[in-house]
């Protein structure tokens, strides 16, 4: 349980950082991000055949994506992995709540807290995203990384309660509204630079990664917690 939460926290954190590091604003690459960015670039770019070279891949969907630019690829893959991490976290929080209470009604409250957080945060977050641009927004959006970390610590020291999880879900909803607005703005930046015939391809990939995360996130969470968590007793 504890290890899983720590792993999830780290995973989610690095996924978010990869996206922010490769955003189209071209802001300076912090040193601590260079390693992951270079790794991704070296691992995938030669096979994808960026910079206008024809893709050697025989898989049509990769060929199709090859028509987009590098930033599009970083955006879809980076934010897609981040989405998966987000759904794993939502699943794990709900699971933890259920283990603590054994009540289905608490799960409904948890989902409501998350939805209320998103609905409450969206009008403010989106206004902020449009007005201030990326940099300041990134800084504040990065604050949400404290949430899974704090949740992990509280679970480790056995002071977690259902009420605390509900509060975390609400704040998580606020964080999602912040991050979502930022991603929407980044997506628009990337899309505007693409040729007209490639814009809808980019939109399709953008929705694909969300639905893929919706499908994979809970399955991954269930696999992790079903295999690992069952051996660890929550007191």
């Amino acid at each position: 349980m504890k290890k899983c939460l720590v792993i999830l926290v780290c995973l989610n954190f690095f996924m978010q950082k990869i996206v922010e590091a490769r955003s189209p604003t071209r802001f300076a690459s912090p040193l601590f991000l260079c390693r992951s960015s270079s790794f991704l670039q070296q691992a995938f770019a030669p096979r994808m055949g960026f910079s206008g070279r024809p893709s050697p891949s025989r898989i049509w969907i990769i060929k199709r994506y090859h028509q987009l630019d590098k930033d599009s690829w970083y955006f879809v893959v980076g934010s897609g992995i981040s989405d998966v991490g987000g759904y794993v976290q939502v699943f794990s929080q709900a699971w933890l709540l259920y283990k603590l209470t054994g009540s289905g009604s608490w799960l409904a409250w948890d989902a409501t807290a998350l939805a209320v957080g998103i609905a409450f945060g969206l009008p403010f977050a989106a206004t902020w995203a449009d007005k201030t641009g990326h940099r300041e927004y990134c800084i504040l959006s990065a604050g949400q990384f404290f949430l899974p970390a704090a949740l992990g610590v509280l679970t480790l020291v056995h002071v977690i309660t259902p009420t605390i999880i509900l509060v975390f879900s609400f704040i998580n909803g606020l964080g999602q509204s912040l991050g979502g607005s930022l991603f929407n703005r980044i997506a628009k930046d990337i899309r505007d630079r693409l040729a007209p015939e490639k814009k809808s391809t980019f939109d399709s990939f953008g929705q694909f990664k969300i639905n893929f995360a919706r499908m994979i996130g809970p399955l991954l969470g269930a696999a992790i917690f079903g295999q690992v968590m069952s051996r660890v007793v929550i007191s």
């Binding site: 912090p30 989106a126 995203a129 449009d130 604050g143 007209p196 639905n211």
Partner: protein, 236 residues
């Protein structure tokens, strides 16, 4: 380690010089709330400026209101078998993923950035397969209906995002998409109340889901023939 890397991230972001500035609200006032409200109303005006976008948001909200019960009421059709429920859920989301992959392939036909010029078709498909799912107890048929229904729902969301990105300028995009997501959340919340209330009525779960699907298909088909839907995205 996480806390340290967060500090480093903030420090790096503070060093950055370049940024993208959006449009400022029209009426600058001293009150933060007034400025915020101006920005929100500005985005609503921008959204209302595009007739096609108003229609798309309406269709998408309808698809959420009358289409999401197909997924939320799945447990009622599983005969208390959790494995069957999991299979249904996987079929639904697999349909959504397949729909997006199909959209990637289909997007090569688009030359101006608009993916689908007939946005009412996907809700018709969703409504029709909702009725088929409710009325037929054949397991493979139900799986197929869920697969295609989930795909149609995902398609309607994709089309809404595609049109929004196509028509709304960068300075307003986050706010207008926030408006869209608020419509979606509100519709899904209302859908739960609607489906739950109908399921408790004399129609029962099967009848109410059929009624919901039929209504969605009917309204969407009607909108397809309405004159205002013929407004093309070139009005931007």
């Amino acid at each position: 380690m996480n806390a340290l890397s967060f500090v480093l991230l903030v420090a790096a972001l503070l060093q950055m010089k370049d940024r993208i500035r959006g449009a400022k609200p029209n009426n600058q006032t001293n009150s933060p709330f007034a400025r915020w409200w101006n920005a929100v109303s500005d985005s609503i005006r921008e959204w209302q400026r595009h007739t096609i976008l108003k229609v798309i948001f309406l269709i998408s909200a309808l698809a959420a209101l009358l289409g999401s019960p197909l997924q939320s009421m799945l447990a009622s059709f599983t005969s208390n078998k959790t494995g069957q429920l999991a299979t249904y859920q996987i079929a639904y989301y697999a349909g959504a993923v397949f729909s997006n992959i199909f959209a990637v392939w289909f997007s090569k036909r688009s030359q101006n950035g608009v993916l689908d010029r007939h946005p009412w078709v996907a809700p018709i498909i969703l409504g029709s397969f909702t009725v088929i799912f409710a009325q037929f107890s054949n397991f493979p048929l139900r799986l197929t209906a869920l697969f295609l229904g989930g795909g149609a729902y995902a398609w309607s969301r994709l089309v809404a995002v595609n049109y929004t990105h196509q028509l709304i300028p960068k300075s307003h995009i986050a706010r207008v998409l926030a408006l869209y997501y608020l419509f979606q959340h509100a519709s899904i919340a209302l859908a739960g109340v609607l489906a739950g209330t109908l399921a408790l009525s004399k129609w029962g779960v099967t009848g109410s889901l059929s009624l919901i699907g039929l209504t969605l298909a009917g309204i969407s088909a009607s909108m397809g023939f309405a004159s205002f839907i013929r407004v093309r995205p070139t009005d931007a």
